[in-house]
């Protein structure tokens, strides 16, 4: 029986996790059942760990939603990592300086994050629209540019008194995102991410803009002949996609680290590709997939401690999922014009 592609993707991802994970554990001399149970206990064993899993879920969900939006328009945004970093940079640098009350600074700083990521995404969108530059290459390369730009900015022109060469000083406490569970790092960012997921789902399914965006992704030549401006739609979609990733970067700065750090993302923008694809590019299922990957991310630490399985096993699994799912889509893409 032929399964729909989304279901197949989810099955492939689950298969990779189980088969490849078991193999790696066997090689490390660990019974896979012990390894996986250590992973689950590490991720969901108590309130503290569950909250930390949800923190990881949130940080993955923002870039994954941005990526899903771009993919729906036929744009393979591989640059969420760089967009997230630029969003975080702008929020961090600005946040360190702002001293107003939180209800003023937090919205401004979240917006700054969206602007930073949005500009970075728009740059790739502009290259595509203006020079027909392949957005896979452009967004991928801009990731490296982003890290260099950020490193230069915080060690040079934007260096603050409290900052080190690799991070800014701590943000004033009133600009921290409020937690929703006491004594954990779980903040309102989770609620914001969930609200965004629901909004995007409604936007894609019900609105005129969503209809046009999907048309550009599913049948660009038909969309063009139906009067939809492909270049414009692609530019704004890349900008929006980057803005969502940048917003995610800002929530990490405001909610988790309370400062900008060059290493603020352990690859959320890349793992987000796998999250988006496993979630069938549907914001609702992307949210579910982000939770599964959140378990992997957080459970890896517990697994390493309890079962002595290197957490790099999880990194390798995630990489393999990206390779298989994204590689297949990019190779078989037919949305060229």
């Amino acid at each position: 029986m032929k399964l729909p592609r989304g279901v197949r993707d989810a099955a492939i991802a689950l298969g990779i996790i189980i088969v490849f994970g078991s193999l790696a554990m066997l090689l490390a001399g660990v019974n896979p059942l012990d390894g996986f149970s250590a992973l689950l206990i590490g991720a969901l064993g108590n309130v503290q760990e569950t909250a930390e899993t949800l923190v990881q879920t949130t940080s993955l969900l923002f870039p994954a939603l941005g990526i899903a939006l771009a993919f729906r328009a036929g744009l393979f945004n591989i640059g969420a990592e760089g967009q997230l970093l630029m969003g975080g940079l702008l929020a961090g640098v600005l946040g360190e300086q702002l001293t107003a009350p939180g209800f003023v600074t937090i919205p401004i700083l979240l917006l700054a994050g969206a602007v930073g990521g949005g500009l970075w995404g728009a740059l790739a969108g502009w290259l595509r629209a203006r020079f027909a530059a392949n957005e896979v290459i452009a967004t991928l390369m801009l990731n490296y540019v982003a890290i260099q730009v950020a490193a230069y900015a915080i060690s040079g022109p934007l260096k603050s008194a409290g900052g080190a060469g690799y991070e800014t000083g701590e943000l004033p406490a009133q600009s921290w995102l409020p937690t929703i569970l006491p004594d954990t790092r779980l903040t309102v960012a989770l609620i914001l991410a969930l609200a965004l997921a629901f909004f995007l789902r409604w936007m894609l399914r019900s609105t005129v803009v969503g209809y046009q965006l999907r048309a550009v992704g599913d049948a660009p030549q038909a969309a063009r002949r139906a009067g939809i401006d492909l270049a414009k739609m692609r530019f704004w979609t890349m900008a929006a996609s980057g803005a969502i990733a940048g917003l995610g970067g800002a929530t990490v700065v405001l909610g988790v680290l309370h400062r900008f750090n060059l290493a603020l993302s352990p690859g959320y923008g890349f793992i987000g590709i796998a999250v988006a694809l496993v979630g069938e590019l549907d914001p609702l299922w992307v949210t579910v997939a982000a939770f599964v990957f959140g378990i992997l991310q957080n459970g890896a630490i517990g697994m390493q401690a309890a079962a002595n399985v290197p957490r790099d096993v999880v990194t390798a699994i995630e990489g393999l999922i990206i390779l298989v799912l994204a590689g297949r889509r990019i190779i078989t893409r037919n949305g060229s014009d």
């Binding site: 019900s206 609105t207 005129v208 803009v209 209809y211 046009q212 999907r214 048309a215 599913d218 049948a219 030549q221 038909a222 969309a223 063009r224 002949r225 139906a226 009067g227 939809i228 401006d229």
Partner: protein
């Protein structure tokens, strides 16, 4: 002994029974025509005869090598004629190619079959008729006892068709068993000895060609009478043209137009006749606003710049029926209702604030479904699951809804069955009667003769001739299509 004998052939693709029990024999020296509508199973059957597909049931007995000439040429454009003809069977001298022997072999084949081609010519520089010779030579090089020709004349001009069949008849006289798969009844009547009619995966009728007529074959293909087209009302008195094209130059890929002029008035169908690749796509893309062009397009007393694009054209009352319904017209994974409003997605009737008005979309789709008899009549089904004819009804219905001022119809009945063709053509005539101006670009002369009030012949990007309906001359138009003056 037959050259090829197929007995009890059954072929399934998933749940679909493509071939449902076919017996067919091909005899040396006999040309058999295999006709049927799109989807009747002709191509599947010829692929089974060739050996590309294995049948699920039944046997194929081949007494000799089978050659197959495809509808779409299977040539390496950048290579020379001899390299194409001998690809994979190159003569060798030690570890080197024996180029002299290769050239000699191709010349000798050309002499023997009367198919003269320069062995060193690069294929991409050859005209289409010559390319087909190369394709045929490549198959003949293997000394086949059986030759299968799949829609061999689809891209040929009328004069090239004649010379092609002269060759085919000569090959039969040499004792080769030949099967021609086609939907062109005139060719079957003129050149075959026997004819088999396929419908829904089985052979429903067999005739000695000299005992039958094109009308009888058409009825056998469709399984009944062909519905008559709508009546045409008399052309309104000559008024100011609604569309006026001057000095138009444009290019889409290798397809180009070079200085085209014509005018079109309300309530008129202007046919553009010509062999594929003579500028039709460039003309269509320029009019649709999806490519840059030089020259002027005046529509309803207003000049349309190429920067206006499809959106502005639609707002002014233009609609298009694109050539490639799968890529240029439909989003195959969307529902019929979502596809029906494509092009109207931003209009006031189809939106409620920022949202798509789903009820309005369904109602609009329902009117198309009813007026065009789309089956199944369900607006929530994915269009991917519809037959080609029903998909095309959606595309045409969408374009004709609300009586537009002008419709560009590019191959509006390409690859769809006879019933759907008749329905689409009737609706085009009715739109014309209601005052819509229609530019009909078609590679099928029969379609142009059935619909057009006037015809222009397009040859190498220029207009080679113009005929009014009362002066249509098939021979003359065919000659102009082939570049004769």
């Amino acid at each position: 002994m037959p050259a090829l004998a197929m007995r009890g052939i059954v072929k399934r693709f998933g749940d679909l029974v493509a071939i449902g029990g076919v017996d067919l024999e091909l005899d040396p020296g006999v040309i058999v025509g295999l006709i049927g509508e799109n989807g009747a199973g002709k191509s599947t059957l010829s692929n089974i005869a060739f050996g590309a597909f294995a049948p699920d049931e039944g046997t194929v007995e081949r007494n000799g090598i089978v050659g197959l000439v495809h509808q779409h040429f299977q040539l390496v454009e950048r290579l020379s004629v001899w390299e194409n003809v001998l690809l994979g069977r190159e003569p060798r001298k030690g570890w080197r190619l024996d180029v002299a022997a290769a050239r000699a072999r191709v010349r000798e084949l050309g002499e023997r079959y009367g198919l003269h081609v320069d062995p060193d010519a690069i294929v991409e520089t050859l005209p289409i008729g010559m390319k087909q010779r190369v394709e045929l030579l490549r198959e003949l090089e293997r000394e086949p006892a059986i030759l299968l020709l799949d829609e061999p004349t689809a891209v040929l001009a009328p004069s090239e068709i004649e010379s092609f069949f002269t060759t085919v008849v000569a090959l039969a006289e040499r004792g080769i068993a030949i099967m021609v798969v086609t939907h062109k009844l005139a060719e079957v009547i003129a050149y075959t000895s026997r004819v088999c009619v396929m419908r829904a995966g089985t052979i429903v009728a067999r005739y000695e060609t000299n005992q039958t007529t094109a009308g009888e074959l058409a009825r056998a293909m469709v399984g009944g009478e062909i519905p008559p087209l709508s009546e045409r009302s008399p052309l309104p008195r000559q008024v100011l043209p609604i569309l006026h094209v001057r000095e138009l130059r444009a290019r889409t890929g290798s397809d180009a137009i070079d200085g085209i002029e014509f005018a079109l008035q309300a309530g008129e169908i202007l046919g553009i006749a010509g062999v594929e690749g003579n500028g039709q796509t460039a003309l269509a893309d320029a009019l649709a606003g999806v490519t840059a062009y030089d020259g002027t397009i005046r529509f309803r007393e207003e000049e349309l710049p190429d920067s206006l694009g499809p959106r502005g054209r639609m707002e002014r009352g233009m609609q298009i029926i694109p050539q490639d319904r799968h890529h240029e017209a439909l989003v195959l994974d969307w529902s019929l209702a979502e596809n029906a409003i494509l092009g109207r997605q931003g209009s006031a009737e189809m939106r409620r604030g920022q949202q798509i008005d789903r009820e309005a979309a369904r109602t609009f789709a329902q009117t198309i479904v009813e007026r065009f008899d789309v089956r199944p009549p369900r607006v929530d089904l994915r269009v991917r699951g519809l037959s080609g004819g029903n998909q095309q009804k959606v595309v045409v219905g969408r374009a004709l809804a609300g009586t537009p001022k002008f419709v560009l119809a590019y191959q509006p009945t390409r690859g769809i069955d006879v019933g759907a063709t008749a329905l689409v053509q009737s609706r085009l005539i009715e739109a014309r009667n209601a005052g819509t101006a229609i530019l009909l670009i078609s590679f099928e002369l029969d379609e142009i003769f059935a619909l057009a009030d006037r015809v222009l012949v397009l040859y190498r990007g220029k207009i080679a001739g113009e005929f009014n309906r009362d002066a249509f001359d098939r021979g003359r138009i065919g000659a102009l299509m082939a570049g004769h003056t």
